[in-house]
């Protein structure tokens, strides 16, 4: 196979896949969608996680299909790589009765344990090619939340309904990777896959019982057991995705890399059901609930595209340092929001999410060589930033809608995230590597690679 032929195939696949991708709207204005989705765009593997999730310019192990497909050419033998991840998800919501006035948030926490990455990769004999197959969990979001009835600051006689919600979003990418050595210094690669998206969410809103002193006394209201409405998504979708990468070895000490990942685009559907008995006097729960007119509605989910660049350096044979810059196009999530509520006064274009630029730095040091040098021991440390990318309501002509949406989307605090990471690893003989990493306050990662 000539080099021209390989390039033609890679470009052809890119173009074909890109043509399929949708650029439609994303998510809905249901509370089940958090203010900022935590997509797992981090590089897999405890090694990368221990180094501040820095790997675009390194990419020299079985996690390369995700972090930088060109790095697959670094492999000299077939390799199986697996990762286990325990993630602590924390979502701050304005949940208590007076929270829209006090801006005191309530943190809803959940822990997700998952085998989040598996790959089988290998160089191909007597060629300049390497191939790989990988399974990557790119989304794993679970949350249960409960919101009290909350008076609205700019709408004194009204309050947001109490909500009980649960969400379970998962996304897995099944992909194949091809890497090609263009020259001894330059390597390129592409990962092409089928991504799945599964959503299982329910949010139930109840009728509010206002007290006689409301709104003079803002807290004189309570939620009742009478259901007002219930929204839900229960769907699975599959869509193509791809990523491209390149690595360039400047000399024995320095290497630079870059990658671009096109996120899959899904269209799921959401249903809203209402309790007709809420309007009776006294209101009652009348089952079954009735599907509201116009539902189910399609809800496109555009997984954000992202691209980045990185470099790595080996000042000494024992020390590896690296840094990445990653730009994530979160704005695609809210280009046009599907309106579950307020669909008569909003168009869906009144929401925005900022694109972000993350910085990652990290280092790995070979502290010790056990077993006569056959089992090197490594320690790792790093740091990364994750700028806030929560949704902003940009305003509408209707004052009441403005007040409600502003209360829902714009009052919550927006904090950039800065996290340190630590890790360690050991090589057992010439075939096995075991690594562990801890992302402070967020995640524990354990991974292992076996060469054949």
């Amino acid at each position: 196979m000539t080099m021209r032929r390989v390039v033609q195939i890679v470009l052809g696949l890119c173009m074909a896949t890109a043509g399929v991708a949708s650029t439609a709207a994303a998510q809905s204005n249901d509370e089940v969608f958090p203010f900022g989705f935590e997509w797992n765009f981090s590089t897999p593997g405890a090694r990368a996680n221990g180094m501040g999730r820095t790997f675009i310019g390194i990419a020299d192990d079985g996690t390369a299909p995700i972090s930088n497909p060109a790095g697959l050419m670094s492999l000299t033998k077939p390799q199986v790589y697996g990762e286990f991840k325990s993630t602590n998800i924390q979502v701050d919501r304005l949940a208590s009765v007076e929270s829209l006035f006090t801006l005191q948030t309530t943190t809803f926490e959940s822990t997700v344990n998952a085998f989040s990455f598996l790959s089988l990769s290998a160089p191909i004999k007597n060629t300049r090619l390497a191939v790989g197959f990988s399974i990557h969990r790119y989304l794993d979001y679970q949350e249960s939340f409960s919101l009290d009835p909350r008076p609205i600051p700019a709408l004194p006689s009204s309050a947001l309904r109490p909500v009980n919600g649960s969400t379970d979003f998962t996304g897995t990418n099944y992909s194949g990777t091809v890497a090609f050595m263009v020259t001894n210094a330059l390597r390129v690669g592409g990962t092409f896959g089928a991504a799945t998206f599964n959503a299982d969410t329910t949010a139930t809103r109840n009728v509010i019982a206002f007290g006689p002193s409301f709104p003079t006394v803002r807290t004189d209201l309570r939620g009742t057991s009478i259901v007002a409405n219930q929204s839900s998504i229960n769907d699975s979708q599959t869509a193509p995705s791809f990523s491209l990468g390149a690595l360039y070895r400047i000399n024995d000490m320095f290497q630079v890399g870059g990658n671009y990942a096109k996120g899959p685009k899904f269209t799921t559907s959401e249903t809203l059901q209402v309790n007709l008995g809420q309007n009776l006097s006294p209101p009652v729960n009348q089952t079954p609930l009735v599907t509201a007119p116009g539902f189910p509605k399609p809800v496109p989910i555009d997984v954000p595209d992202h691209f980045g660049g990185g470099f790595s350096a080996r000042p000494t044979p024992r020390l590896l340092v690296g840094a990445d810059v990653v730009r994530t196009l979160y704005s695609s999530l809210t280009k046009t929001v599907t309106l579950i509520f307020n669909d008569t006064t909003l168009t869906g274009g009144e929401f925005s999410t900022p694109d972000t630029t993350e910085f990652h730095v990290g280092a790995e040091y070979n502290v010790l060589n056990l077993m006569q040098g056959k089992s090197p021991l490594f320690v790792r440390g790093g740091f990364y930033s994750n700028p806030s990318h929560v949704i902003t309501f940009t305003g509408a002509s209707d004052a009441a809608t403005n007040a409600v949406m502003n209360a829902q989307y714009n009052l919550a605090p927006r904090n950039d995230e800065y996290r340190g990471t630590v890790g360690g690893g050991v090589v057992l003989g010439s075939r096995v590597q075991v690594d562990a990493a801890y992302v402070f306050g967020k995640e524990f990662v354990l991974s292992s690679a076996v060469r054949f």
């Binding site: 000299t76 897995t172 599959t238 044979p317 790995e364 090197p376 690893g425 590597q433």
Partner: protein, 531 residues
């Protein structure tokens, strides 16, 4: 794993996995230094020097930078010393120029473990390159090579090895250039196999002593043969059984349970008839049988295999009712006394006791052998000591003393003859240490580890003796004994001694390496672990 998504992506995954599984069959490393380097080192270790050179040159072409702990990929590393192995491989092939070039390149990354082999190769290269480039080949070498090849073709491996060793002594450079090392390895493998077959046949014929000699030699010639290990295990088991029954018989004698003693002796005879005969236990068996027949005790005879009482008519024919000859008994007592005296170092008194035993019972083989041995030892000793006093007879004296040491190394050492031999050796211009080492090695290679110890130990115990080889091979001799010792306590004691000697060797010469051609991997492992 990965929940419901797995089911939905199963088809996709299965297809991709199938493609990958197909690929994996043909996958291997591409375009790098590590694969050819690995293969080169393996080829070198297997003695395939031409292949090793080919792979290692490929590795160097891919990456010429040698380094310890060089990164293969990710966190995987290896020592990358292609020039070191290239130098050694080229030297084995007699390509001295290339060997020298690579040796120079290997010098900056040389490790402690490589030093000894490096120095040895460097000397070899210097020697080879200092000789004329196209020296005329010695006709004797050509003739010897033909003979070696003929012996090899006729599967006369022993002769082939000897012939090849002579050729190496004759012209080491020509030996290397002609690639005779590989032929010697072939002969060693053949000889090891032959010895193993012979040993197993001897075991089947009940000739355990001869079999043991062959099998030990087979193990030392070609370590790791399972059949040899099994056969040696069988012999050791029989020897253990023999000793157990013999000891039990003695205990029964002491308790005056003569029929039980008789049965135990019969079992000892069955387990190892040769030892039984060598220790002259036939007379003891006769004595037990006689006393049992007189009804000295009512203990019923016991069947050897299942412990059930043996019917009265089942007594072996050699356990007849003859009365033991008192002279035979006297002779046996004298032999035991002599053995005790030897243990105390009283050789003259032991000689007298053996002589008395031989006189009382000319059929006592122990006594006869001991008398002959002592006579030969004394003759050689006297000749050697006498010759050492004259300046002209040093060589003959040296040979006589060496022969005396071979006859009875313990006695030789205890009688202080080592110093005389060293003095005589020096006077002939030889290095006593080297001569001792050569003789010790010879004994070791012929499967006589105890004799090797007796030769090497006195030299090793001299103050200031720091020769690494001497201590290392004394350690090998102890380790050889440890590995074949039946009792755990003996194994531990001998291994400790081996480790002690290995440590002294390693201290005397930190990079010292045992030759893996003559020392078994098990012993090399002990050596490596003791450093």
């Amino acid at each position: 794993m990965i929940g419901r998504s797995v089911q939905r992506g199963a088809l996709c995954a299965a297809s991709a996995a199938a493609v990958m599984a197909t690929c994996v069959v043909v996958l291997a490393q591409a375009n790098r230094w590590s694969e050819p380097y690995d293969k080169g080192v393996k080829a070198f270790e297997a003695g395939k020097y031409a292949d090793a050179v080919q792979f290692l040159e490929r590795a160097v072409a891919a990456d010429p930078k040698a380094a310890p702990n060089k990164i293969i990929e990710g966190v995987f590393r290896t020592d990358y010393f292609p020039y070191y192995y290239l130098a050694l491989a080229y030297a084995e092939l007699g390509q001295w120029d290339k060997a020298a070039q690579n040796l120079d390149k290997a010098r900056p990354t040389l490790t402690r473990q490589q030093t000894a082999k490096f120095n040895e190769t460097e000397s070899k290269i210097k020697l080879a390159m200092s000789t004329p480039s196209t020296p005329p080949r010695n006709p004797a070498f050509d003739n010897g090579m033909r003979q070696a090849e003929a012996a090899l073709g006729a599967r006369n491996y022993d002769a082939a090895i000897r012939q090849l060793d002579q050729l190496r002594s004759l012209d080491a450079n020509e030996y290397a250039r002609a690639g005779l090392g590989a032929k010697r390895e072939e002969a060693v493998k053949g000889y090891g196999g032959q010895l193993a077959d012979e040993g197993r046949a001897l075991v089947q014929n009940g000739r355990f002593n001869d079999a043991k000699g062959r099998l030990v030699l087979a193990e030392q010639t070609l370590p790791g043969q399972k059949a040899v290990a099994d056969a040696l295990g069988e012999i050791r088991r029989r020897e253990d059984d023999y000793r157990t029954h013999k000891a039990a018989a003695q205990a029964e004698f002491d308790r005056k349970s003569y029929s039980a003693a008789r049965d135990r002796l019969q079992q000892a005879q069955q387990a190892q008839p040769e030892l039984f005969a060598a220790e002259n236990l036939g007379a003891r068996l006769n004595e037990a049988a006689t006393l049992a027949a007189r009804g000295a005790t009512a203990t019923p005879p016991v069947n050897a295999t299942n412990g059930t009482p043996t019917p009265p008519g089942n007594t072996p024919s050699n356990a007849s009712n003859t009365t033991p000859d008192p002279k035979v008994l006297d002779a046996q007592r004298d032999v035991r006394t002599a053995a005790d005296l030897i243990r105390q170092g009283k050789y003259a008194e032991a000689d007298a006791a053996y002589a008395s035993a031989a006189k009382a019972d000319p059929n006592n083989q122990d006594a006869a052998a001991a008398v002959a041995r002592a006579s030969k030892f004394k003759s050689l000793r006297d000749r050697g000591v006498e010759g050492s006093k004259s300046k002209t007879g040093a060589a003959a004296a040296q040979q006589a003393l060496v022969d005396a040491r071979n006859v009875d190394p313990d006695r030789f050492a205890r009688e202080g003859l080592t110093a005389i031999l060293d003095r005589v050796t020096k006077s002939t211009g030889d290095d006593p240490l080297q001569v001792t080492l050569r003789h010790g090695l010879l004994a070791l290679l012929n499967g006589r580890a105890q004799e090797s110890i007796a030769i090497l130990e006195p030299a090793a115990s001299l103050d200031g003796s720091k020769a690494a080889s001497l201590h290392a091979y004394l350690g090998v001799a102890y380790a050889t004994q440890a590995l074949s010792a039946p009792k755990p306590e003996d194994r531990t004691r001998l291994k400790d001694k081996a480790v002690e000697q290995f440590r002294i060797a390693a201290t005397a010469e930190p990079g010292y390496q045992l030759s893996n051609r003559i020392v078994s991997p098990a012993i090399i492992k002990i050596y490596e672990s003791s450093r």
